[in-house]
Point group: C2
Chain length 496, copies 2
């Protein structure tokens, strides 16, 4: 067998095992009876050990080295596969097995302590565990290696090539503009339309029905996926033609509409990757940031626009007549674009959102540099919320303890949310140049035109290009926060 | 690490991988979108190759040999694990890899041809493939080895220790008695009660609701399982505390009630295996025959009895009032016990059922001996249906082509259905000696008393005892068809 064929064979095996892992997770979140937890944990453990053995196998390392040393005759797809697998191999082999096991044990221990601390509003309970997590993340950075800043090693785990320096520039441009815009919008204090504030509770079946309709509208293919219910909405890939979304439905919350569009955006990306990449590591979105750009594009830029709802609002009124037949389209669109700075990131509007991320970025950077320690976090957190958002945090539970990420040991993850928001605006700007009639396109609900352009330029490539190269190729320049700021400043829905 | 601990470690890994395999299958039958098929097939292939490598690994063989040679100090559970794993190892290592691959390819090819042949009622289309399947099954028997009869090697795959000679004795006792009883009952030609013949179509949600209620009544634990819909009802184990059932619901068929009880019986067995066997190969029903004895016990012996329904019928009337409030309990019970010989095995009543199996047994035995060939099957099939059941088969589609088993290459499987029926009656007879008030027990719906006895005597042991030893231990004698014949001859519901 030719050595490149051997690489493809190993890649297929790994990809299939990862799809199986995704099924174990999907089933746990969506279907598994409560008693199944202990057994499932052991299934995860057996399968992840197997995957780890395969991705760190010396045989794989040898093949990767040999092909890297002699790349003559390899196609561009071969080279891309080689790059992606080498990155995975390096990430996994750089961390000693004992470290991985210890880290996994520590985060398993930290998770319930964080839950408990948040419940009791007692940061002190979590602090000792968090200190150990921070120490191990710092060690992780050393094992992974970096040039300028230890935090770079962690950022690269989630967004290939992203650095602290990049983020300082991006956030530097954002923070003043966003804080000012936020202050201005917040001072307008638009009221919630009465009919919306006092809405008849929605029935689950009506919500599910609308959610399916709106997913179908944006082009989600139910023959190659399905929608189910879980505690937190997510999108997962169980194979090239099996990309599933979940949602959650509360009788009194419109959140399900935007979760459907958000997860739908992730799923459109994955459903439209070229068939030729099936069962290889190229058959997925290229990075968390670019992935998030697609969920945010469909959720926010398209999904909160007046133009979009001019076409789609009747569907909502049809699916939930009791709730929406007496609500004016303008009221609805104004409501879903309300700017209201608050303590909680996941409830944030488009203007506030990246300020929440900025705060986490500044804290993580300091923790990794060693200029601040775990004990400083509550104070700094509250100070920064006051400074950037003008918000007084009422408790650590609603403050520094609100996110699961640190208990998970995921330092460097938060910034990908902002990368996603910025990239979404920049990509949308490029689309609008391609389609000068984009207002008509939205108004007439020709969403396939948008989806086809995204497929052609982004989706079909899967993980073929590194994220920065892809963005450069699509937009003709590197990531730039200007487009996002312009988008917010000129957003007509804010003036409704 | 002690060598026995190493065996447990390998057993746990294999059991977890088998649970993951079961999840892939469950999801395919119950949840997977249509597009997912090709990817899922590759996931099966990757995982089954991994499992095959592990169960045939020379390292495992060495451990098994060493422990078999030096069993001193092993507990009875250790010895049982050793026996079960050695059996699996032997079964898998005796078949050359090339044979396994060729056989798998052949049956993949045979399956759609069988579907097509059945649709077109054209046995000739299937015959060449079936000839090749028969040849390979004969080779399989040679690879596996046998003492008296090649068919023994195949029977043992599904029911440890079962032989052609055993079956000849069991069926020898059955066939005359059953044919006579069938003739007598069929001649009575009881009509279908008018209200049942002309029933308002049932709503899916009402059927699902009743199915859940009756499962809960017999003691199925929904915290450690769930019920879903699939094309064919089945029970599967995704872990020690995750044993799921499925059912199918047609608006005009009572089948779902008995499928619920049938799968419920399988699931009760698995849900009540002792915790200490979790994540080992002892954590499952010991054989197909003993497993089937539990599904048949709950479906037929308990689930078609007047006493059971005296308590449960109001539940059915409550769940489906439009259909059942005007149907008399006696009419209902008479109807669900109607004896009506027909062409189709899966629709057969309790008297006919084992005659369908007998016919398949006689044909498979002849095919494995080489005394008959594939070309003889349609003629012999129709002859035997006339002889044993008094039924004229109207087409090969409703005759020799009705079952999927031969296209699957599963020769030796059918007899386990009869083993199940016979064992169910024999075990119930033993229970009735333990509980002389068993009529009152059923009448009052004290099903936990029955379930607890079954758990104590059968369920909790999992695969600890070989099937014949288990039956001997429970009933004080080997499998005997007398109890089943007595049960049918004295069944009071036949006289309603």
């Amino acid at each position: 067998m030719k050595i490149i064929e051997e690489l493809y064979r190993k890649a297929r095996e790994l990809t299939n095992l990862n799809s199986i892992m995704a099924l174990l997770q999907w089933d746990q979140e969506v279907m598994m009876p409560s008693g199944g937890g202990a057994g499932r944990a052991d299934q995860f453990s057996v399968l992840s050990t197997l995957i780890h053995q395969k991705i760190t196998a010396p045989g794989l390392g040898k093949i990767l080295q040999e092909l890297s040393d002699n790349p003559e005759g390899l196609s561009s797809a071969d080279l891309s596969l080689l790059r992606v697998l080498k990155r995975e191999y390096d990430k996994n082999t750089k961390l000693p097995e004992k470290f991985v096991a210890d880290f996994s044990r520590l985060t398993s221990e930290a998770l319930p302590v964080w839950v408990d601390a948040r419940k009791k509003n007692a940061f002190k309970l979590f602090q000792p565990l968090l200190e150990r997590v921070i120490t191990m993340c710092r060690q992780q950075a050393d094992f992974l290696g970096y040039v300028d800043h230890p935090y770079d090693a962690l950022l690269d785990l989630y967004e290939e090539g992203l650095t602290t320096n990049n983020l300082e520039i991006l956030f530097g441009n954002l923070k003043t503009e966003l804080s000012q815009l936020l202050q201005q919008k917040a001072s307008e204090k638009k009221p919630i339309p009465e009919n919306l504030a006092d809405m008849t509770p929605m029935l689950l079946k009506d919500q599910v029905h609308f959610s399916e309709r709106i997913l179908a509208e944006i082009g989600y293919d139910f023959n190659r996926g399905r929608q189910d219910i879980s505690a937190h909405p997510f999108t997962t890939s169980l194979g090239h033609s099996d990309r599933r979304v979940t949602n959650r439905f509360r009788p009194d919350s419109l959140e399900f509409i935007f979760s459907a569009l958000h997860e739908g955006g992730h799923a459109l990306y994955e459903q439209n990757i070229a068939e030729k990449y099936a069962e290889t590591p190229l058959d997925e979105g290229v990075s968390l940031g670019i992935h998030e750009s697609q969920s945010r594009l469909w959720e926010n830029i398209i999904g909160r626009s007046h133009l979009f709802w001019e076409k789609q609002y009747p569907l909502l009124q049809e699916s939930l007549p009791e709730q929406f037949q007496n609500i004016d389209l303008d009221d609805f669109v104004r409501h879903i674009n309300r700017v209201h700075p608050g303590m909680i990131r996941v409830e944030a509007d488009e203007v506030s959102y990246n300020l929440h991320v900025l705060i986490r970025f500044e804290l993580e950077r300091g923790l990794m540099e060693g200029t601040i320690g775990a004990a400083d976090l509550p104070g700094l957190w509250n100070e920064k919320y006051q400074h950037y958002l003008g918000v007084k945090v009422d408790s650590d539970a609603n403050g520094v303890l609100q996110d699961i990420h640190w208990a998970h040991g995921s330092f460097g993850y938060f910034p990908t949310y902002t990368i996603g928001n910025l990239a979404a605006a920049q990509i949308w700007n490029t689309y609008c140049q391609f389609d000068p009639d984009h207002r008509q396109t939205l108004l007439q609900g020709k969403l396939d035109k948008i989806r086809n352009w995204l497929t052609e330029n982004i989706y079909r490539h899967g993980a073929f290009y590194p994220p920065a190269d892809l963005l450069q190729k699509v937009c003709g320049e590197p990531l730039n926060s200007k487009y996002f700021i312009d988008y917010l400043k000129n957003k007509p829905e804010f003036s409704l």
